[in-house]
Symmetry: C2
Subunit: 317 residues, 2 copies
């Protein structure tokens, strides 16, 4: 085993891109052929739901695994389907692992103390189950919310240390009104600066404890593509943290916007696209092979777009 940051950087280097595909199950937006095939195999509604989600992601991951270093599963979209959704989340994690992809779970968890430790056990570490240690969801990295304060992050950081996992702490999110909280001007020793920079300092402090041989830390930050000016500030405040960058594509962030999230070495960020890769189909009747080709084409376009924008990049599509 190697540290999360080193595994992620090795995967970025191998695939030669910082582009990540987001996996957000929305059955109603999947190609008809996926849903029909899942229905035709019969069984209960729960079995059909699980099959839709799992088989959809099997197609997606098969199509794009050689083109990206990592996938980002959005927990909310799995949870909205209840148990079959969560079974399918486990399936998706297993499929991604089989393809040697780094698996990031975007679940934005946090809590205090032993409760935060339980989330860390669920997703990054181990749970003692009837006297035996068991890996539960076991992803490579988890997104974590900082609102509960520095001590609430510690159980996650400890799990990263112990199990060679990573976290991405929410710093500046991509939604328009993130400013209503994250940009509030905070007094720090007589100087006013936005809340997100206070959070960035917490992140950088934690990040310094978990720097890999690649020079980056397993403690990363979520910084939206939609706020390039803020990203530039944040890049300076958290030089060792990998930025997980949502907001490219459907949310309006462009390749030019994400440049600020990268360091001058052309590294230090991964850019996620979800809907713009896997949904918005030309027609719901699209066949499986055409869908797989569309997925590859979209990821290749994104790779080229991002590569062309990163200055002094070591990563080229």
């Amino acid at each position: 085993m190697t540290m999360f940051a080193d595994r992620l950087m090795a995967s970025i280097e191998k695939k030669n891109t910082p582009c990540v595909v987001g996996l957000d199950p929305r059955i109603d937006s999947m190609p008809d052929v996926v849903v029909e095939s899942a229905r035709n195999k019969g069984g209960s509604e729960e079995e059909i739901v699980r099959r839709c989600i799992t088989e959809f992601h099997e197609i997606v991951i098969d199509a794009i695994a050689d083109l990206v270093p990592a996938v980002k599963l959005q927990a909310a979209f799995y949870e909205q389907y209840g148990l079959p959704g969560i079974v399918a989340m486990q399936d998706t994690i297993a499929i991604a692992r089989r393809h040697d992809l780094v698996v990031i779970l975007d679940a934005k968890r946090n809590d205090i103390d032993s409760t935060a430790a339980a989330y860390a056990s669920a997703y990054l570490g181990e749970t003692i189950v009837l006297g035996k240690s068991r890996r539960v969801f076991d992803v490579d990295a988890l997104t974590v919310s900082p609102y509960l304060g520095s001590d609430s992050l510690l159980p996650f950081i400890r799990a990263c240390e112990r199990y060679e996992k990573g976290i991405f702490i929410l710093v500046k999110t991509s939604n328009p009104e993130s400013s209503s909280i994250q940009d509030l001007q905070v007094n720090e020793g007589g100087r006013l600066s936005p809340l997100f920079s206070a959070v960035a300092r917490l992140v950088d402090d934690a990040a310094s404890r978990l720097v890999g041989t690649c020079g980056y830390s397993s403690i990363g930050a979520v910084v939206g593509a939609t706020f390039p000016t803020q990203a530039l500030q944040l890049r300076k405040l958290m030089p060792r943290s990998v930025f997980l960058v949502p907001g490219y594509g459907s949310q309006g962030g462009t390749a030019k916007d994400v440049v600020a999230c990268f360091n001058s070495d052309g590294l230090g960020a991964i850019v996620n696209a979800s809907r713009s890769i896997t949904y918005n189909l030309p027609a719901p009747e699209i066949k499986e092979q055409a869908f797989a080709e569309l997925l590859r084409k979209r990821v290749e376009t994104m790779r080229a777009d991002i590569a062309s924008a990163i200055p002094k990049s070591t990563v080229r599509a």
Copy 2:
């Protein structure tokens, strides 16, 4: 159906107490008899885990259902056991509903836009599953984190309106270092005030849209028992919001400390205790009936303690 705030207030009035029991599955801390009984019924490890958690909560809820208006399930402790934990979470919700308890899920979820909407669908509303509307986890209220800003709260607020549900937004949490973020001094129109009061203003703004006939809103706030001075300020900033108060008992909050969370009508807060009620057993060998009696005794002691401290209370143990 009636609004969440009205259902909660009716339940508080009926049970004559604002005390809530927290359900945090920790199999290793359960009475031996629960684990032995679950093992003796045989089956896979997953079946035994589910049975431990479900049967434990069956005993707990049977013992205390007539003594409290609501239970609070902590999602992290269910999730740490993976799928059987989440099946047992559904079981626990069903058992609590059968006993006519208000069910609060403490999951501290949030995200942006359609992702926040997916969480709202999972826990408060409905998901379209293969063309049909389905309730998924379907609790009465969910805890929600505010870090992503005002627009991230809207999908939850809309679900509360549409499905007569409630949310409790994290404002000031009970952990010692909550101050590292929540007490940062924020500049609001030239005046410095803590971040938690800026969040409280967001909460109060949302709360004003969903006030029930009881005078309280379905949009509540999480305010820890461990910070009575801050609670006093927050009580004034969010007069219509019910406070969900963690931190009483194991975390050191006393009945005197929680008084600040109540309005002068003796209402406006629910006080949660988890570990101090259901765990910390005198001996793991405790028998089922003795355990049930212990649970009742502890809840009765808490009820009396809280009732004696609330000034001008209409609620008496």
